[in-house]
C-alpha cells in the first residue's frame, strides 16, 4: 500500500516565502522537479545553521504541500515551529536565501482504491501533511473529516484554503482557548460514529499517535500514522530513528522511521516502549 520514495534529490533551494502564522512559520521553497515526486506523508531534510554551523545534522520537516508548476516552477511548502536552534535559524531566514534540501524522503500515506470515509487527526504542526492528503482523498471521492489538536489556539495550524478541502473540521485545545477543550481523542469516538469513519490518518506527537491508535483498535479501523523519531540522517543509513514495529510475520523489529516510515500502519507499531526494547523483539538479548 505504502512505498518508499526512491526519487530523493539533494539541492540548494530558494526560499520564496516565509510568513509567521500563529506559532508557526509557513515557508515556501522553489525546488524544481523535487516537487514532482513529493506525495503526502513524505518529508524533506534541511541543513541548518549555515556554512560554519556547529549543527551537523539535518532537520526533518513534513511536506505541507507541493506543487509542480507555478510562478517559481516546482515548490514545496513547510510548516515550521521555531523550537530549538535549528528551526529558529530556518524560520529566521529571508526570502531569496538558499538552503540545502534533501527530499522527498520516506514512505507516503497510502490512498485507498475505493472512496471511503477518512478521519484525519493532527496534533500541532502534525496537521501539515494532512491537508495535502485531504486533497488527494477528496479527488478520489472520499469523505474527509479532520480533527486538529494542540495545547493552545496559536498552535493550531489550519489555514483557510486547507479548511476548504475537508468536509468537517473539529478543533481541540488543551486550554480551551479555541474549539473544544481537551484532546483530539476526546472528540474522536463521537466523530467516528457520526461520520462513519472507515480509516484514520494521523500525524503528531508520539503520545497522541499512541492514543489515536488505541481508539482505532477499539473501533477496528485501519490507522495510518506518520511517526516522528529523532533522525540523524533521514535517508536510512544511521539507525537512530528506529521504533519497534511488527513485520508481516508479527515479529517485532527495530524499524527505521525515515525509510520504512514515517507513515506506518498504526496497528503494527509497539507503542509506549519508550527507552526500552520491547520483550520478544528480534535480536533482543
Amino acid at each position: 500500500m505504502t512505498s518508499i520514495n526512491k526519487k530523493a534529490q539533494q539541492r540548494s533551494v530558494e526560499i520564496i516565502s516565509n510568513k509567521k502564522v500563529g506559532a508557526y512559520h509557513h515557508m515556501v521553497f522553489a525546488v524544481g522537479d523535487m516537487a514532482t515526486f513529493a506525495k503526502p506523508g513524505n518529508f524533506v531534510a534541511i541543513s541548518v545553521g549555515g556554512s560554519n554551523s556547529s549543527m551537523i545534522l539535518r532537520r526533518a520537516f513534513a511536506i505541507y504541500r507541493s506543487s509542480d508548476r507555478g510562478q517559481y516552477g516546482g515548490t514545496i511548502e513547510l510548516v515550521v515551529a521555531p523550537h530549538g536552534q535549528g528551526s529558529k535559524w530556518l524560520t529566521g531566514l529571508n526570502i531569496h536565501d538558499h538552503v540545502d534540501m534533501v527530499g522527498p524522503l520516506g514512505v507516503n500515506f497510502g490512498i485507498p482504491t475505493e472512496p471511503v470515509n477518512a478521519l484525519l487527526v493532527g496534533g500541532g504542526y502534525g496537521s501539515a501533511p494532512l491537508f495535502g492528503l485531504a486533497e488527494v482523498l477528496k479527488e478520489r471521492g472520499c469523505r474527509v473529516d479532520m480533527i486538529l489538536g494542540a495545547s493552545v489556539a496559536g498552535k493550531i495550524y489550519a489555514p483557510l484554503e486547507g479548511k476548504r478541502s475537508v468536509n468537517s473540521l473539529t478543533i481541540t485545545t488543551e486550554d480551551g482557548s479555541t474549539g473544544n477543550k481537551g484532546k483530539v481523542t476526546d472528540v474522536m469516538p463521537e466523530l467516528i460514529k457520526k461520520h462513519n469513519s472507515e480509516i484514520i490518518y494521523s500525524c503528531g506527537p508520539m503520545p497522541m499517535l499512541a492514543a489515536v491508535d488505541n481508539l482505532a483498535e477499539q473501533f477496528g479501523l485501519m490507522h495510518q500514522c506518520a511517526v516522528e523519531e529523532s533522525m540523524a540522517c533521514g535517508i536510512g543509513v544511521c539507525m537512530t530513528c528506529v521504533l519497534p514495529v511488527k513485520d508481516d510475520n508479527g515479529v517485532i523489529k527495530m524499524t527505521r522511521s525515515c525509510i520504512d516510515g514515517p507513515v506506518m500502519d498504526g496497528s503494527r507499531v509497539v507503542w509506549n516502549s519508550n527507552r526500552q526494547i520491547p520483550e520478544g523483539t528480534w535480536g533482543a538479548s
Binding site: 539533494q10 551537523i56 543509513v237 544511521c238 537512530t240 516502549s273 527507552r275 526494547i277 528480534w282
Partner: protein
C-alpha cells in the same frame, strides 16, 4: 599539473588494491543500498558494512542519538540481522552492484570473531575484513576489547587464523585508551594488515529538562568534526611508529581538506562516516576534493602524500 585522469588514486591494504581512497565508515552507510540513490557505489574505494554479529541484534532502545557541538553521539548498539541474513541479503546486492566490500565484524567473545571470520572466508566478492574491537568482551566483565592490549591481540589472531591469507584484515581501534600506539603494535604483530583509526569517543549528553542522560543507553559514541583533532593525532602517532602499515583514517572527515590532514598525518585512505548524515554525497565530494587539493600541491598520487607531515 598532471592531467586529473592520470592522478593515481589507488590505495592498497594487504594484497588488495582499491581504486579510490574514500571509503564509507562502518555503521554510517546502511547496507550501501540507501546511498546508491545518490551516487554509484563504484565511486567508492569500498563500502565498509555495518558491523555484523553472529546473531541478530535489536540494538539499544531510543533515543539513540544526540547532536553535540560539531558532532553527535550515537548509541545504536550494533543493531543488525546477524551474519546469516546479512550474507543472504546485503552481500549479494552489493556484489550485483559492483561495489567493493569490506565487511565489518563485531563479537562478544574471541570465538565470535573466529566464527565470523570462518563464515566470511568462503564468501566470494569481499575485499577485506574490518575488525571492530570496540565491543564489550562478555568474558571479561564487559571490558571493551580495544581497551585491552591482550584482548585486542587475541581477537586479531583469531581472525587471522580463520580468515586465511587472502583477505586483508583492518583492525579498528578505539581512541579511548591511554596508549593507542601500544594497541596498534599488538594488533599488527597479531596479523593485522592495516588499521582503522579511529572509532568514536565515549561521551554523554544530559537532557537538562528530563534531568537524565539523553540517550537511552546513557553513554554513546562521539563522532563528527569535533573529534577530528583526536583522530589526526592518533593517525600521526601510529604512523610515526609503524610507517609500513596502511591506515584507514576516520573521525570527522567532511571535506577534502579534512582528508588531507589525515593523509599527511599518515593515512592511506579515509572513511566518511557522520558526514554522510549531513550530506548524502559527502564521500563523492571528499574524493573530488582530495584529488584537486593534492594536484594543486604537485602530487601525482595518493601514496606520495601519505605521511608527508612527518618529514623534517
Amino acid at each position: 599539473m598532471i592531467d586529473p585522469s592520470n592522478f593515481d588514486m589507488r590505495v592498497k591494504f594487504g594484497h588488495k588494491y582499491f581504486d579510490s581512497p574514500v571509503f564509507t565508515a562502518s555503521g554510517c552507510a546502511g547496507s550501501g543500498k540507501e546511498l546508491s540513490q545518490f551516487f554509484s557505489l563504484t565511486e567508492l574505494g569500498a563500502v565498509v558494512t555495518k558491523s555484523i554479529a553472529l546473531k541478530p541484534r535489536s540494538g539499544r532502545p531510543t533515543p539513540r542519538m544526540a547532536e553535540t557541538p560539531s558532532g553527535m553521539l550515537n548509541s545504536i548498539g550494533l543493531q543488525g540481522p546477524g551474519i546469516d541474513q546479512f550474507l543472504e541479503d546485503d552481500i549479494p546486492w552489493l556484489v550485483a552492484n559492483q561495489a567493493r566490500i569490506i565487511v565489518s565484524i563485531s563479537g562478544e567473545t574471541v570465538d565470535d570473531y573466529a566464527s565470523l571470520a570462518r563464515r566470511l572466508r568462503v564468501v566470494p566478492g569481499l575485499s577485506g575484513i574490518e575488525v571492530n574491537i570496540s565491543c564489550p568482551n562478555v568474558e571479561n566483565r564487559g571490558l571493551v576489547f580495544a581497551c585491552d592490549p591482550v584482548a585486542s591481540r587475541d581477537v586479531i589472531e583469531a581472525v587471522r587464523r580463520n580468515i586465511g591469507g587472502e583477505l586483508p584484515i583492518i583492525a579498528k581501534l578505539s581512541p579511548d585508551v591511554t596508549d593507542i600506539v601500544e594497541i596498534a603494535g599488538e594488533v599488527i604483530s597479531a596479523g593485522a594488515d592495516g588499521l582503522a583509526l579511529i572509532n568514536t569517543l565515549l561521551g554523554m549528553v544530559i537532557d537538562i529538562d528530563k534531568q537524565r542522560p539523553k540517550l537511552a543507553g546513557k553513554t554513546g559514541g562521539l563522532s563528527g568534526p569535533a573529534i577530528r583533532p583526536v583522530a589526526v593525532r592518533a593517525i600521526y602517532q601510529v604512523h610515526s611508529k609503524f610507517k609500513n602499515v596502511p591506515i584507514l583514517g576516520m573521525g570527522g572527515v567532511t571535506s577534502g581538506k579534512d582528508a588531507l590532514e589525515m593523509i599527511f598525518a599518515g593515512a592511506s585512505a579515509v572513511s566518511v562516516g557522520t558526514a554522510n548524515f549531513g550530506n548524502p554525497t559527502a564521500a563523492i565530494k571528499v574524493k573530488r576534493e582530495i584529488r584537486e587539493l593534492l594536484m594543486e600541491r604537485g602530487f601525482n598520487s595518493i601514496s606520495e602524500a601519505v605521511g608527508v607531515a612527518h618529514n623534517e
